[in-house]
């Protein structure tokens, strides 16, 4: 007898987390533009504040529209729940602030989005949280950097901008052996390409600004918990396993082992740091998620055509895409990312910085800006934008050269994209000759 069946990804992307409005029958997710919620009576109010009843009190803590997004992303990722935040950066900060205090230590991949590198390498250091950055290509590097005060292991599913594929099963095993959770930034892969929890990650977050929203109209983040990490057994997280004076002596792990992290993150992190998501933003990102399963295959299809075009072009020194046999993580990508290695990648042009400038300024379809994961194709020169605060040595460690160009391949006609790139590469070549 066949067993019962879960709804498919496509169905969850459209329905999870939302019951059609009982009052007016609205099929779309309503935008609950309200700061607060009327209590039935004083007793009801007290019960909501004390977590004796489910519901909403104040939209910094939770909001019905935002809750739909949270539940939908949790469903797509296979988590116990999620918290939507003002940005992807706010999601990373919320995870860190929930898990540790001053004096703690993080081991992180050195192949990170520039903003994450800034937060971990500079800003959190001011608050007494240190990070050791390691080359993610060798998982043992994470183990070697562990200290007694380490509280988190962190990496990106696909490193930015070199597309290092994080060996999640290996790094998760190292983290778990040390009684630590593995957090991954899953922005580039989305749950359609990979579900990190299935490979051993414990926590993940998205910059929902990118592929989840998918249209470049809203900034947001989503932090998701697998509910699988045993905080009590680890013994390293008193924030979750001991009474918290800031919430009536609540022991979050005792309240619920599977929800402890999200309970504290919401009841302390959103309450006190306040980096919540606005309901309009949640609505916009939900519109994107409803077509995620349609957009991602097209992103991948277009990316493969663009990669093939560039790899064969005389003006291109190298293309860094994990599906190419020349990429150091080719085999790992085949194992962890069988549906595709994302739609953001970098290539190195001949001619260095000046050729890169000429190339970017000659493009017509690709837009030159600081974002990825849009339906429209995007281009940027990392050394002068996203990673400009990094030293040359750190840039080199992250695999970025002066002629490195990053593309985010959108949903246009692939022939128009390759034509645009061909024209711009020809312009760069003419510039070299003129020079």
């Amino acid at each position: 007898m066949p067993g019962p069946k879960y709804p498919g990804f496509d169905t969850l992307a459209l329905h999870a987390g939302h019951t059609p409005d009982a009052t007016f029958g609205a099929r779309a997710v309503p935008i609950y533009a309200t700061t607060s919620y009327v209590f039935r009576d004083s007793e009801h109010a007290a019960s909501l504040f004390n977590m004796e009843r489910a519901g909403h009190v104040y939209s910094r803590i939770s909001n019905p529209t935002v809750a739909v997004l949270e539940e939908r992303v949790a469903a797509l990722e296979g988590g116990v729940g999620a918290i939507a935040t003002a940005s992807g950066q706010a999601a990373l900060h919320l995870a860190v602030a929930t898990l540790m205090d001053a004096g703690s230590h993080i081991v992180a991949s050195n192949s990170l989005y520039g903003g994450s590198h800034n937060l971990l390498g500079y800003t959190l250091r001011r608050f007494g949280i240190e990070t050791t950055f390691v080359d993610p290509r060798e998982p043992e590097n994470f183990r070697r950097a562990l200290r007694d005060n380490t509280r988190l292991v962190f990496g990106e599913t696909l490193g930015n901008p070199g597309l290092d594929v994080l060996d999640i099963p290996a790094v998760a095993a190292i983290a778990h052996n040390a009684g630590l959770p593995l957090l991954v930034d899953s922005t580039f892969t989305t749950p359609w390409l990979m579900k990190p929890f299935a490979h051993g990650a414990d926590l993940l977050y998205h910059s929902a600004t990118k592929f989840l929203g998918g249209h470049g109209v809203a900034i947001g983040g989503v932090l998701v918990d697998s509910g699988r990490f045993d905080w009590e057994t680890s013994g390293k997280f008193p924030q979750l396993t001991e009474p918290y004076a800031g919430f009536h002596g609540m022991d979050f792990e005792e309240e619920s082992g599977t929800r402890a992290f999200l309970l504290r993150a919401r009841r302390e992190g959103l309450r006190d740091f306040g980096a919540c998501m606005a309901p309009m933003t949640a609505f916009q990102i939900l519109q994107g998620i409803e077509t995620l399963h349609l957009r991602m295959p097209r992103h991948i299809e277009n990316t493969r055509k663009v990669v093939a075009f560039l790899a064969a072009h005389e003006m291109v020194d190298s293309v860094g895409y994990p599906e190419l046999p020349t990429h150091p993580d080719h085999a790992l990508a085949g194992r962890l990312l069988p549906r595709g290695a994302g739609a953001v990648f970098s290539f190195d042009m001949k001619g260095g910085r000046e050729a890169g400038r000429r190339f970017i300024e000659s493009l017509r379809v690709f837009s030159h800006l600081a974002n990825v994961g849009d339906a429209k194709s995007l281009v940027i020169h990392p050394a002068s934008t996203t990673h400009y605060r990094m030293s040359d040595a750190d840039l080199e460690k992250a695999g970025i050269g002066p002629g490195t160009v990053r593309l985010s391949v959108g949903l246009e006609d692939a022939d128009d994209l390759t034509e645009d790139l061909g024209r711009a590469l020809a312009a760069a070549k003419r510039g070299l000759k003129a020079g």
Partner: protein, 268 residues
């Protein structure tokens, strides 16, 4: 709060309150493969509203040391020994699914210790399909999938969770993933094997509440309705459109029904 029962650590959630002999006590007993936090909202409410609460982790579940008990009768006796350890003479018992069978048996065996019982997600006989039992015996993922999908109303994966931002299926699967091998199987087999329901029901003189999810796939309303007749008297509250996981799917309605039932006639 940790207790010692049969020489092993036994945990019961008390909503961060010390046991107070002057207060009435409610003990909550979870279903197969679950733990005290399945009653999270409801037990917390009573703990802050004048009751001692003992939301137990049965042996081998949650924070209580194992091994899991192999029969409903053994679980019923264990609950009484936990009350002894907590120095509680009389308590109202609230049970869900396997926990409902347990509190029924407990009330029949120890009428002097049990003031009233609330049976949530309850049917008798509580037969478990051969495919489910076999998958659980083999500790296969399929058993956890069946538990998750049949343990909630059909609309759950395509609807909103009353608890903001939480994904009910994911929470259930994460709980099951933490179980030691054979814990789910032992519980399911105990439910399947339990044969004392009608005799125990006929013995009861205490107030009985049935809380029934109208879309319960595991313990269907029609089976629950038939079993209600085995009691001298029992009150039934139907909670539409909940499935088997009433405390999560309809937390407020479940709490309101329990408040109505437990706030009268419950003495220390």
């Amino acid at each position: 709060m940790d207790f010692a029962v049969d020489g092993r650590k036994a945990f019961a959630y008390t909503a961060a309150h010390a046991i107070d002999a002057a207060k009435p006590t409610i003990a909550f007993v979870h279903g197969a493969g679950l733990d005290h936090s399945w009653f999270g909202l409801q037990s917390r409410y009573f703990g802050y509203h004048g009751f001692n609460v003992l939301a137990v982790d049965l042996p081998g579940h949650g924070r209580s040391e194992g091994p899991p008990l192999e029969s409903v009768e053994a679980m019923a006796e264990w609950v009484v020994r936990l009350l002894d350890a907590a120095k509680i003479d009389r308590a109202a018992l609230v049970g869900h699914s396997m926990g409902a069978l347990t509190v029924l048996e407990c009330a029949a065996r120890h009428p002097g210790r049990v003031t009233r019982i609330a049976l949530l997600g309850m049917a008798y006989p509580m037969k478990v399909s051969e495919a489910f039992l076999e998958a659980a015996r083999r500790n296969e993922q399929a058993a956890y999938d069946m538990d998750t999908i049949w343990g909630h109303a059909p609309q759950v994966p395509l609807g909103a969770n009353p608890n903001p931002g939480m994904w009910m299926y994911g929470d259930n699967l994460a709980r099951l993933a933490r179980l030691a091998p054979n814990v789910l199987y032992t519980g399911l087999k105990a439910c399947n094997d339990y044969a004392g329901g009608e005799a125990s029901a006929a013995k009861l003189d205490c107030p009985v509440l049935f809380l029934v999810g109208s879309r319960d796939l595991m313990t269907p309303p029609r089976v629950a309705a038939a079993f209600v007749k085995a009691f001298k008297s029992a009150q039934t509250v139907l909670l539409p459109p909940s499935g088997h996981s009433l405390m999560a799917e309809a937390p407020d309605a479940t709490l309101d029904a329990l408040i109505d039932f437990l706030s009268t006639g419950t003495t220390p």
